[in-house]
């Protein structure tokens, strides 16, 4: 066994295998995991996944970049006035953040079509969700975004969306790393270990 020799390297096979394993282990240990996220939604509920995942990955020591495009750009505005939309969101739970626990845990059975069409319902639902989040110790979007900035998560904004909707750059936070297009972001995503579309 020990005498077999790898034809390509001329090395003893066992030694070669040992060398190879060591090299691979070293490579793995030195590799910094990376993640890219494409954030496309601007509602309060859909603002959470990108910021939670990005800030947590950064806490694990990973390199993270988030590309905000279309309605996702709302998440980079100075004024974060995010709302829930019951419309087309049929699994959205409707619960009260006040009253006894049994009531708070009860799912209010309001038809989605009704919630989506009653004027003012979006504001009400958004307010209730923000209260629930606060009461249960879940960070606000502004707080999570700040933590991302602090942890050097790269916040990248889609230039095309800004032009398309005539948005003003002054309305956005100064911590945006770059204003680019898809062709600039994709090469980063290509090298990432994880890439998510949210």
């Amino acid at each position: 066994m020990g005498k077999s020799v790898d034809i390509r390297t001329g090395m003893n096979q066992d030694l070669f295998n040992q060398w190879f394993d060591e090299r691979m282990a070293k490579r793995e240990a030195e590799h910094t995991p990376s993640m890219t996220i494409i954030a496309t939604k601007g509602t309060l509920d859909m603002a959470y996944p990108p910021f939670i995942l990005a800030s947590t990955a950064a806490a694990l020591g990973w390199d993270v970049a988030v590309f905000f495009t279309f309605y996702g750009l709302n998440l980079l505005k100075k004024d974060l006035d995010l709302k829930l939309s019951p419309l087309g969101n049929p699994a959205m739970p409707m619960k009260l953040p006040v009253g006894p626990k049994w009531l708070q845990d009860t799912e209010l059975n309001i038809p989605n079509a009704l919630m989506a069409t009653i004027p003012g319902f979006e504001n009400l639902a958004s307010g209730l969700m923000k209260k629930t989040m606060r009461d249960k110790g879940v960070a606000s979007i502004a707080e999570l975004r700040e933590l991302c900035v602090e942890a050097e998560v790269k916040l990248v904004a889609c230039q095309m969306t800004v032009d398309l909707y005539g948005m003003k750059k002054d309305d956005f936070i100064n911590e945006i790393d770059d204003w680019v297009g898809a062709a600039s972001f994709l090469p980063t995503a290509q090298k990432a270990d994880i890439s998510l579309f949210i």
Binding site: P33, L60, V138, A139, A151
Partner: protein, 83 residues
Amino acid sequence: MNTTTEHSLDARGLNCPLPILRTRKALAGLEDGETLLVISTDPGSVKDMESFCNQTGNELVENASVNGEFRFTIRKSQEKRHG
């Protein structure tokens, strides 16, 4: 082995991912070998703290549940990254 905890972090009432993010921040201010006591009430933090330590190379010295609170003792180690 010296397990005296010199630093502590109260993460009670905070939910995912805040206990982990605050822990990371608190550890950043510690010297290698120093320990941090984290107290949380988020049940998800039990698994998450294990995973966090595993990923960052910090040592989870103790992981206890007392009266609905979770206590973690983490020893800061030279940061290591995993693939």
